[in-house]
Symmetry: C3
């Protein structure tokens, strides 16, 4: 685990900015790859708690300060115990699925502004958000896990089929490939993909608009949509258990090791074209 993942420097990876009391930004800023480790989970837990309890905030936008990466896969250089040793959250789920489930239920509208890769954790936090808008040219969404023998842990098996139907969800998950802006829009993986030059202004205008509305009306409406559409927590819990069980299997350990040898976890081609690289592991 890298040093900046410790509590002492816990605000290093994720930056919370209050553009207005009603409109916050949460910016993933962990260069060079925006990899997501236990330290970031602790930071996210604090942010979620703030979103749940603040009286004024109505909208939060998730974005990235790292070129090429919205938010990336988990940190595979740390110890697994640093992840599994995190305390369970108030939902009873383990830390990462707890954060995602709470975000979907939080009394605030969450919008993922996706530029660069949203791989693994990045895709999962986008899916747990209320809306997703992507850069047509620069967004890449990816549930890459099956490609290295893993099961995704943050709930995409529960969320993707409810968003895009079973067939496209299975393609995303079992194909484990990079999904670009046009296809993400066609499949409903994101609300819309916009020209990169228009994305920031579009999301900012939507966030500002919603932040001008009545908070009570927003919350009551969101809660009713949640009742109609959120997966039950037990499905999220089952995905997390399957994920943990998969990590320790030799099939996964060997593939991750091979991928590491080919440049995974370092800036370069393996991270940039992860979909291609996982497709080469079994040959």
């Amino acid at each position: 685990m890298k040093n900046q993942n410790t509590p002492a420097t816990k605000t290093t990876q994720i930056r919370l900015t209050r553009r207005a009391p009603t409109y916050w930004r949460v910016t993933f800023d962990h260069p060079p790859l925006n990899v997501f480790g236990p330290g970031a989970i602790l930071e996210m837990t604090e942010i979620i708690t703030a979103l749940e309890t603040d009286e004024h905030v109505k909208v939060v936008v998730f974005d990235s300060a790292v070129e090429g990466f919205f938010l990336n896969h988990s940190d595979f250089l740390g110890k697994l115990e640093d992840l599994t040793g995190l305390p369970a959250g108030p939902t009873g789920l383990q830390a990462w699925p707890d954060i995602l489930v709470r975000l979907s239920r939080a009394p605030v509208v969450s919008i993922a502004l996706i530029r660069g890769r949203a791989t693994g954790n990045g895709s999962e936090i986008a899916l747990a958000s209320d809306m997703r808008f992507a850069s047509r040219e620069k967004a890449i969404l990816s549930q890459w896990e099956v490609g290295v023998g893993l099961i995704p842990g943050g709930g995409p098996m529960a969320r993707l089929p409810r968003l895009m139907g079973r067939g496209r969800a299975l393609e995303v998950l079992l194909g484990a490939d990079d999904i670009r802006g046009d296809l993400a829009e066609l499949y409903g993986y994101v609300n819309r993909s916009l020209p990169d030059a228009d994305l920031d202004a579009f999301v900012d205008a939507l966030a500002t608009r919603i932040a001008s509305f009545d908070k009570r009306a927003i919350i009551d409406t969101k809660n009713l949509v949640n009742a109609a559409s959120l997966p039950p927590d037990v499905e999220i819990a089952a995905g997390w258990s399957a994920c943990l069980a998969s990590i320790v299997r030799p099939a996964a350990q060997e593939r991750i090791k091979t991928l590491m040898a080919r440049g995974f976890h370092k800036p370069g081609d393996a991270e940039n074209r992860l979909g291609y690289y996982v497709g080469e592991l079994g040959h």
Copy 2:
């Protein structure tokens, strides 16, 4: 409440035409804005009962005779008691949600032909219909309610996520903006958007086609689709309750009053560009 909303002239606002015993048209004709009040609810109740009990009708198309408006929001000039005082329907739901739920279950195929604005009630009756086809150039769909501090009352929190997924449903409901033909088609808000010049012929051909099929096969098939896809009534009831609770809150009353001062409920820019206007209320 306007005079034409009284029972004595109750057939003024909605016109039922039997193109054939098997194929009916229900035309919203309440110029200049096709606003929807308690009088129209009573008319719709009679029409729904006729659709439920007629032995011959197989298809009903909903359309509009009012330029620019398929069917509009509720009548805010009347007394709230005229709406809440309407008797509950046979489903146990209040009058408006009762109509919508019965339409979705009726032993007849309902098709919304959307040209002009389908705002509030107009969007809700379209969503309760079995299919929706929109004019690419002239249709505007809108659940505008959150923009004035209200919660929609006719079930879109239950129906939209099942039609387009949670993320796009939340955008439609919490963005409270005007949705035009192309986006409505992309999101699955409507089955398809067609060039305005082709819309009437397309819907008429489809309605005529279905009306030529066996009624029993139509009903049995629709009932099985309903079992797979309709929201439970309790979700519709919860939305209606939340709507009624929202109307009397100061946040909503003040926003509606401001909107009235800016031209709401009168022909003109505020009605034509309602999405823009509700976005200006909070500034």
Copy 3:
């Protein structure tokens, strides 16, 4: 019932090819129309059992060797008893719905490569598969049954609304018309439609890719998606019962008889443009 439908020549209609131990092809090859009868159901039962029990297979692609037809409607020239007399399968469902339900749950990834007509049974096996890819120019999907007074028997009332929403599902089922590649993609009836020249290479690359992944990770992920998205068996059973009840009704018998007189079940225009022909029956 044609002779080749008997057990003695049971491998005539469906060909199983092992491209690799991990990657199988199942090819519908029953010229000239790829009509699907009780003999083919028996063959499919054996194939499903093989897919369920083989330790190595990870991916199966369904395709066709018959020009113009991926897989067609049921054989209406045989005796109904040959269909209804087939033993129930291990799910407790009758043979055809049993096959479809087992395919969706099988520990293998199924991909339908759709070129030509996928009518009735052909559409149903595509919908029971995990993914569907269609030729943009040459694929035609069709649940034609309501057009002749029948109810589809293989579960599309349960599957289509979960894939494309209630409105589009009702259009497909109650319109009973031919759906071509572009519309099938827009509606999510298929994952994607591809230029016919690219379809084979695309599906082969995806199948080869998935076949290179870890089988356990594939299965666990698919099972979790299934938990989130598969219809309950009782809905499939209800559709099958409704189908059987519809076949013996005079409305269906008369329409099928008329359609036979117009060329149904023979190579030619009635089969090629079935959507058009069923639309003419009621006039």
